[in-house]
Symmetry: C2
Subunit: 132 residues, 2 copies
DNA sequence: TGAATGTACGACTAAAAAGGTCGGATTTTC
DNA sequence: GAAAATCCGACCTTTTTAGTCGTACATTCA
């Protein structure tokens, strides 16, 4: 429970690589090698980050990615949602499907806690995570 | 990712039941029925809560559980750790086993984020979750 | 123009975690 | 001693996660 998934970890490693390098384009393959991550998965994560404006993709022979957004403007909440799709504490909060239906006694408390957690994740930027 | 697991949900429902009732002992079976949760799993969760001092177990014919601790003194962090065993964001933080070993580029950032998250969960009491 | 390089996307398989069940032992009260 | 309840370990099923494969498309450059 409560674990980061691999895609988010790969995304963090990739972003760290970009943040620490000079502003040259880096291919998905190079990122995968530098971060010791599976190439295919890394490629997908980078594509997702690119489609959401965190990275900028450049085609062609010497193509690749580069940072497109200031990491102080990207929150942990943003990253999780972009890479993983959801940060909700329970499925019922997004899917509206719950086994308990009307019988659930804790929907309000869970919504309450969920909001607190999301606000918390929104308050932390990726830059802040890197610079301790 | 980032989902509460069922055991924690069952624990929350059980605690809510105790918090809202009068201070009589309630059997695991009754709790399971009241919360529409699987009896066996509920029984285990209650046992765990009992062994950690959140509930008090009473044996015998009319035995069961009752609250043993003020819920304003129990944090979400406590509950997650008691019921689920860990709140760490990554396995490597507790198990010391990591596929990347020395090659991990984000161990420090992850530790950093992990501490923030845990402090956050420590700052929220169960009572606070119930009373919006 | 076509070969090289890289992005983009869907389908599939394997591994891991979560959720739940079964059976039985122990403890206490009546 | 019987009944009611807590306690504990092992097992199975389902779901989620992680990773791979194959293929199509876009762009650059010789």
């Amino acid at each position: 429970m409560n674990k980061l998934n691999k895609k988010v970890e790969y995304a963090l490693m990739a972003l760290k690589h970009f943040a620490e390098g000079d502003d040259t384009t880096v291919s998905a393959k190079d990122i995968a090698e530098a971060t010791h991550s599976p190439a295919e998965v890394t490629a997908r994560v980078l594509q997702t980050l690119s489609s959401h404006g965190i990275l900028k993709a450049e085609y062609g022979l010497h193509g690749g990615y580069r940072l497109a957004k200031d990491l102080s403007k990207v929150s942990v909440y943003d990253l999780m949602n972009i890479v993983d799709g959801s940060t909700d504490l329970a499925k019922c909060l997004s899917d509206k499907e719950c086994d308990l239906l009307k019988n659930c006694t804790i929907i309000t408390p869970v919504e309450n806690l969920n909001k607190k957690v999301q606000d918390f994740y929104k308050s932390i930027s990726i830059e802040e995570v890197f610079h301790v």
